[in-house]
Symmetry: C2
Subunit: 305 residues, 2 copies
């Protein structure tokens, strides 16, 4: 089924205790597109880059079947750039530089072919742009999934609430769920956030897994795969979201039981993402590798052999 | 099958953001005995208390079928006392008072009836006492489970290593696993700790669940049940350990697959423990309540409906 992805396509520079990168491909929609393209063959990307972007990556996405008609290239302008540094525990990070560049006045133009997508993934981005995107879609999609972060809660809470009210699934981390709801208990936080609009809430807990909250107080928990090393956590949440909606689009479903499987797909892909810098590991990912890791999740989670 | 429990039986005083207790029943072996007695009908307790202890609790344990022959009562002496204060997040706590009292020179005397137990639970206690206990057992038990904490790693690491080398299952939390192994990655930590002796390692992550590591790099993850409120976390780890070994003793098994179920039993019991102060909630626990929560864990974890 058709899946529209919107979010940043950008440059990152990443410092970790294991090493540093120069400018490499980053951005929520880069990770999401790579992940969804493994699962769903009808993916359209809406994003904006500058003239300085690495267009080999765009060709790569095309080879993977991603429709890049909606990727605007701004002449004479520069791509969004983020430079971050991870601490020793790899869980916390500092932003060293953020250059908004083309993202500062991003007007999401949706190609005619993509005005009626069945699935929509609103990657982490200004809630204004997320809202405009939804307004420009002509028929209600089967499923809208939204990712966001604390930054938008701090500076654009009103607009954020407007977007949240229109989506089916919201994905945020545990601290963000607490901030958005004002509740410390994640059970109470989930109840309050679901009252804001989304029928489903996914709380991402990084190395501690993810919780899916649905109707009738239904809860499903998916662990993170215990790994030898986390090399670079950048993009893990985006990859998770991409695997999640990519799986659902591939099976054409939107029910709680399918979302459980979708979360395992997202977690399996995210477990690869963190093994190398940036999108490198995701670009190497094959179907066999994905299946191998899905089997590991099954062993990790299965109570009855 | 016969199950010997050793650990502290003591008084606690607990301050939380929700309120404070006076002196109430505490101690690892109190929680463990209450938990195991729900599952296994052949439990023997080895511990020491002072004359000041609340002997109604001992009668209560007897009613539940716990054999208290091995509970020494020291005339003219006082029971171990711990006073702790939890912070707002309920995850961290400060010790306000520790009075060792009778625990200072505890000589664990094992009644003749209990010198050949099939299962042994070494609750958190000085590794010297844990070691003496094992030396006084006449035949190798089917399974020895040991719980310990960072305090003993700080002050008695050599003896701790001697005990660890003799046990089948070690249960510690994630920070303690990192401290004991010198590895940040829990996968690497588990490998190193298993090389110290125990065939199985359980890493307790509190609200983030528990990991079981076994042979051939086998890993199983059990989530914690997301709760509305955590009222008092005291004794949750002991209750978990008690539920774990109590289940195994009740089915007479010691294999990895059975341990997976045992961890769910331990987690279900611990999820009740934290709902009220001290042992209060565990004392109310019925088989129906336990089954209800086991069903909740099943829904939380089950991928295929």
């Amino acid at each position: 089924m058709s899946l529209l992805v919107i979010g940043s396509v950008a440059f990152d520079a990443i410092d970790t205790p294991f090493g540093s990168t120069g400018k490499i491909i980053g951005g929520a929609a880069s990770y999401i597109s790579l992940a969804t393209s493994m699962l769903s063959k009808n993916v359209g990307l809406v994003a904006v880059v500058g003239e300085d972007f690495d267009f080999d990556f765009v060709e790569n996405l095309k080879t993977r079947g991603v429709d890049t008609q909606g990727l605007q290239v701004k002449k004479g302008e520069k791509s969004f750039f983020w430079h971050g540094k991870y601490h020793m525990d790899m869980n916390s990070r500092d932003t060293i530089t953020t250059e908004l560049n083309v993202l500062g006045d991003f007007d999401p133009i949706i190609p005619a072919d993509w005005k009626n997508p069945e699935y929509v993934m609103l990657g982490n981005l200004s809630p204004d742009v997320q809202l405009t995107t939804l307004e420009r879609i002509e028929s209600r999609p089967k499923l809208v999934v939204m990712d966001t972060m604390n930054f938008w809660m701090d500076i654009a809470l009103d607009t954020l609430h407007k977007v949240i009210a229109k989506v089916d699934v919201l994905t945020i981390n545990d601290e963000e769920a607490r901030q958005l709801s004002g509740e410390y208990s994640l059970v109470k936080a989930a109840r309050k956030i679901r009252e804001m609009g989304p029928k489903y809430l996914i709380i991402k807990k990084g190395e501690h897994g993810a919780l899916l909250f649905g109707e009738n107080e239904d809860i499903f928990f998916c662990p993170a795969l215990p790994l030898e090393e986390v090399f670079d956590p950048t993009g893990a949440g985006d990859t998770f979201a991409g695997g999640f909606i990519g799986y659902l689009a591939s099976v054409g479903k939107t029910d709680f039981e399918s979302m459980k499987k979708a979360i395992v797909y997202g977690s399996a892909m995210a477990s690869y993402c963190v093994e190398k810098f940036g999108t490198e590991r995701l670009q190497e990912l094959t179907e066999d590798m994905l299946n191998e890791r899905l089997a590991k999740f099954d062993r990790l989670m299965r109570l009855n052999a």
